[in-house]
């Protein structure tokens, strides 16, 4: 299609021309706009340039596909969609006749881009973030993902028992080293039931662990709420006392020092102390640096750890209880005891408050039901991942309105992993029939599998899933699960311009991806990729 090639070529040339302008800091969203801005647009600096994609069959996913429609993109956003859209003068035009346009595909369950994560060391036990493992320098892998039409992925690093890592949403914008690359650094918290172990008792233990963590987090939250209340009271008392003291001071007259008593003094003090804080003075006191002064280390010193008693510095644990005795001398003021900060529990508190969804990988029906029950008990925003046996409990899942993110339909029929052995390729169809929200992912267990997301969706169709539902499952429904449905997932006015042009059926992996646009910018072009 020479026409397409030519216009794309133009885009590229201009892109090079205006690379400098981009560097000068045009906001990220309008990058492509800047790039394709022609001379006309330069002449009228007020109007940002427009990219028009003309003639494609547009899967808007808000309604039936539009034949031969035009999509206008400006400042990284879709500004118009329709068959009767006027293309403004000076727009860059992408001729897409005979092609199909969909929103950028979203893999809601991916193990891509985490470079060196060998599967066996996947799975974190602490408050790990997948965002820390996402390697934006994997240029080849990013290219392959784009070749598969993927523009956004939810990356996680495995689903351990207990509360695991925080998944990240990555959007494959141009210049991956930039900060826009991590679209949502902390998108979800992962967990699993019955994945790491098949033993019935251990599996019960997993559930128990989750539940007790949730209860602990609830208590933690309450203790902080109590503390905050007590603190408020305490502050009031301090204020009262302050007023009283001030009143007394005034009564006593101006004999004492005129400044405000509490405020300035401590401020002065540090300046006096500062010089002592210089490394030199301090080094003298440190045992480690003292070889010059006392080169002979006594036997005593060798036997016990070198720690000099420091009456001034209380050990961290004690502070929470100590104030009681200390403050008693203060008289009426009881400083409330500050609870220990616990980053891990704070994370779970976020779950309880509904600020973050909980993803539970579970495959067996009873594990899934347990997860649902747990979510109900603690009012969590639950997302089910895996769910191989979902076909057996499709109704229960649909009733609870829990979104289900299904993995590859192509797992082995021999149990490669015990949890998957009752896996059925028709699960997606059955869940969809029952009315559940179905999202298709590629599973973090298959490294680099994201680029074949389309194949996964196609196989779901071949096993009975509705075509439309399959496309929705990798675009709009996936966006909804990631909480990004206000920006991504459909082609409509006001949304981010993440678009993919296919030469053929988007669900047929044989149909090549011709152009990928992310944030209004062309990030992949088939003839340029050459591969």
């Amino acid at each position: 299609m020479p026409r397409l090639a030519r216009s794309l070529h133009a885009v590229r040339l201009r892109h090079v021309l205006f690379a400098g302008i981009l560097a000068l800091g045009i906001p990220g969203g309008s990058l492509l706009a800047g790039a394709i801005l022609g001379r006309e647009a330069l002449a009228q600096p007020g109007r940002p340039p427009v990219l028009a994609i003309r003639g494609a069959r547009v899967h808007t996913l808000t309604g039936p596909p539009l034949e031969g429609a035009t999509v206008l993109v400006r400042r990284g956003e879709i500004v118009a969609v329709g068959t009767d859209v006027q293309i403004p003068r000076g727009s860059s035009i992408l001729e897409a006749e005979g092609m199909e346009l969909t929103p950028g595909l979203i893999d809601a369950w991916s193990g891509s881009l985490v470079g060196d994560g060998a599967p066996q060391d996947r799975g974190a036990t602490s408050d790990a973030r997948a965002a820390d493992a996402v390697d934006p320098f994997l240029a080849d892998e990013i290219q392959e993902l784009l070749q598969g039409g993927i523009t956004t992925l939810h990356v996680d690093y495995g689903y351990p028992s207990g509360f695991g890592c925080r998944g990240a949403v990555v959007r494959l914008v141009k210049g991956s080293a930039g900060s826009d690359f991590l679209r949502v650094p902390e998108a979800s918290l992962t967990s699993s039931l019955g994945v790491s172990t098949a033993q019935p008792l251990l599996r019960l233990g997993e559930l128990k662990g989750l539940r007790s963590d949730l209860i602990a987090a609830r208590k933690y939250k309450e203790s902080w709420e109590e503390y905050d209340e007590a603190l408020e009271e305490y502050m009031e008392k301090i204020e009262e006392r302050k007023k009283k003291d001030e009143a007394e001071d005034k009564k006593e007259g101006q004999t004492t020092d005129p400044g405000k008593p509490g405020d300035d003094k401590p401020g002065d003090a540090p300046e006096k102390d500062k010089p002592e804080d210089e490394p030199k003075g301090e080094r003298r006191r440190r045992p480690h640096a003292s070889h010059v002064e006392d080169p002979v280390v006594g036997e005593e010193d060798l036997q016990r750890p070198r720690r000099r008693p420091r009456p001034e510095a209380p050990p961290p644990e004690e502070t929470t209880e100590e104030p009681k005795s200390d403050k008693k001398t203060e008289g009426d003021l009881d400083k409330p005891i500050r609870p220990r900060k616990d980053p891990r529990l704070e994370l779970i508190v976020q779950l309880l408050e509904g600020k973050m969804p909980l993803r539970v990988e579970a495959h067996r029906a009873e594990d899934v039901l347990n997860a649902i029950a747990l979510a109900k008990e603690h009012k969590l925003r639950l997302q089910l991942v895996g769910c191989s046996e979902g076909y057996r409990i499709a109704k229960d899942i649909a009733e609870r309105h829990v979104p289900v993110i299904l993995g590859p339909t192509l797992e082995s029929i021999l149990p490669r992993r015990d949890a998957l052995r009752f896996h059925r390729p028709g699960t997606a169809a059955r869940l969809h029939e029952a009315g559940a929200t179905v999202v298709l992912g590629t599973s973090s267990h298959v490294a680099g599998g994201s680029r074949f997301l389309r194949a996964n969706a196609a196989l779901a169709v071949s096993h009975g899933l509705d075509r439309d539902a399959a496309l929705r499952a990798i675009t709009v429904e996936a966006a909804r699960v990631l909480g990004l449905d206000d920006r991504l997932g459909t082609i409509e006015k006001g949304k981010d311009a993440d678009l993919v042009l296919f030469r053929g059926d988007p669900l047929d992996p044989r149909a090549a991806v011709e152009v990928v646009i992310v944030g209004g910018e062309v990030v992949y072009r088939k003839e340029e990729a050459g591969r």
Binding site: A128, H288, P295, A313
Partner: protein, 490 residues
């Protein structure tokens, strides 16, 4: 003659290392080193110049400098004088590079430093006069590093600079992954915040109590106010160094294995306030983040010179010469020796590799002298032959980057620390002799039928005679030398 020489050499070797150490402690006299070529690195090369050393410092460099009447003058008319090289990040001298405690800012390499380690001997032999000893990469927050000269009996005696920096790694530890690494790193700083907060609060309250005032602010504000009162000594050993790091009191060596780590490390340093004294220790892939490194403007220590990556489509290995990329981008880098059996173990060879691959000679030479000196915070003391700097001088038989060049003499702060002619170990290695054989004087008969080990070896008298000119030159016989005793040390 041969016998005599060998005997002399052996006798010298029987002295313990204290000889050298004593010399180090004694008051150094004035010294003038004249050489055919002086590669100063601070300025242009000087032909037939002289370096005047007083009290271990260089007081004059040039062609027509005044020679003090009471100075010892050493002349090397056909040799090259080069500044002592700086190996800025090494765990030589430590029995093990890493502690199993992942967060251990309270450690200090000085406590584990083995002054008699063969590593230091080898450093001298290759012309290295300053070694930045540091913990290995396999840590989260590691111990405190230290700059030493490869000469001395005890760590304090060797020390050039204490507290060169705390080791931190943003790359995954062995059998771990980046997520866990970052999470534990965050945890470490979180714990520090919590702890310093508590201490600060208490400090503030105590301060008020001392002044007989009543508390008039809430706990959060008290913490803030208390932080201003806080001094490093108020904290316990476990947290003190980390606290000092965040106040900018000490430097750090942050290990970034991959390109993605570079930004993480820089962001962390900026967020925690230790950016200004940070040095990045980078793996080979980090050339991809050259722009970020350039922008950061801090010196970079390179652990590997060549990056290899497989093309996913052809399966072929693509090689990138990392210093070449960094030099083009204008990033200042220091080189380190790499493993392997031949040249890559030597700093001068690493610099030569750079020249081979298109880096300019000046940049290559600076990457083993001035830049590593800067990374250790010693740029004003070592790394070039300039007035005011330590008199760390290396006498070379030829061009510093040529493999046929040998280090002949090494002066550290004006004292002779190494003399090739007295390097018994080198003799052993070159000629394949054992100590006993050197002692016996190298007469041997070949006896093919005699299979027993320890038999007299055959040594070609001619080749052995090659060592003849050694020893007779004998300037600075009180200087350091290398003892074969240390062969199995450590």
């Amino acid at each position: 003659m041969t016998k005599l020489v060998c005997l002399a050499v052996v006798l010298a070797s029987c002295l313990t290392f204290t000889g050298a150490a004593a010399a180090l402690q004694g008051e150094p006299g004035k010294l003038v080193v004249k050489a055919g070529t002086i590669v100063t690195l601070g300025g242009d090369e000087i032909r037939n110049g002289a370096v005047v050393v007083e009290n271990g410092r260089i007081v004059a460099v040039g062609t027509d400098v005044e020679i003090p009447y009471d100075a010892t003058v050493l002349e090397f008319p056909d040799k090259v004088l080069f500044p002592g090289m700086v190996n800025c990040h090494d765990w030589g001298g430590l029995d093990r590079p890493n502690e199993s405690i992942p967060v251990a800012p309270f450690l200090d390499v000085a406590d584990a430093l083995d002054p008699s380690s063969v590593d230091f001997e080898e450093d001298l032999r290759q012309g290295v006069t300053t070694v930045g000893v540091s913990q290995g990469h396999d840590c989260i927050i590691g111990g405190m590093g230290r700059a030493v000269r490869p000469l001395g009996l005890t760590p304090p005696e060797m020390t050039v600079k204490q507290e060169t920096g705390l080791k931190i790694s943003v790359a995954a530890r062995r059998r771990s992954n980046r997520m866990i690494q970052m999470s534990q790193l965050r945890q470490a700083f979180h714990d520090l915040d919590e702890y310093t907060g508590q201490v600060a609060e208490k400090k503030y309250e105590d301060d008020l109590k001392k002044k007989d005032k009543k508390i008039e602010v809430g706990p959060d504000e008290a913490r803030e106010k208390g932080k201003a009162l806080l001094r490093a000594d108020d904290l316990d050993d476990k947290h003190r160094n980390l606290y000092r790091l965040t106040t900018g009191a000490i430097g750090s060596f942050v290990y970034a294995e991959k390109a993605m780590d570079v930004k993480v490390a820089i962001d962390l340093a900026r967020e925690r306030g230790f950016f200004d004294r940070m040095t990045l220790v980078v793996g080979s892939e980090c050339f991809k983040a050259a722009a970020t490194l350039k922008e950061a403007g801090r010196p970079v220590i390179l652990t590997e010179l060549v990056h290899r990556e497989q093309d996913p489509w052809t399966g072929e290995i693509e090689e990138t010469f990392v210093p070449g990329v960094l030099a083009r981008e204008g990033v200042r880098f220091a080189l380190l020796p790499e493993g392997g059996s031949l040249g890559a173990r030597y700093l001068w060879y690493q610099a030569a590799r750079c020249v081979r691959n298109g880096v300019t000679r000046q940049t290559a030479l600076e990457s083993i002298t001035l830049v590593p000196a800067e990374a250790l915070g010693l740029r004003d003391r070592v790394g070039s032959i300039e007035v005011g700097k330590d008199a760390n001088l290396v006498v070379l038989s030829g061009d510093p980057l040529d493999s046929l060049t040998w280090v002949e003499k090494v002066f550290i702060e004006g004292r002779l620390a190494y003399d090739k002619d007295k390097d018994i170990r080198l003799l052993e290695l070159l000629e394949g002799l054992t100590r006993d054989e050197i002692e016996e004087g190298g007469e041997a008969m070949e006896s093919p039928e005699d299979g027993a080990s320890g038999a007299t070896p055959e040594v070609d008298p001619e080749t052995d005679g090659g060592k003849d000119d050694g020893g007779t030159e004998g300037d600075g016989s009180d200087g350091g030398f290398l003892s074969g005793e240390r062969r199995h040390a450590g």
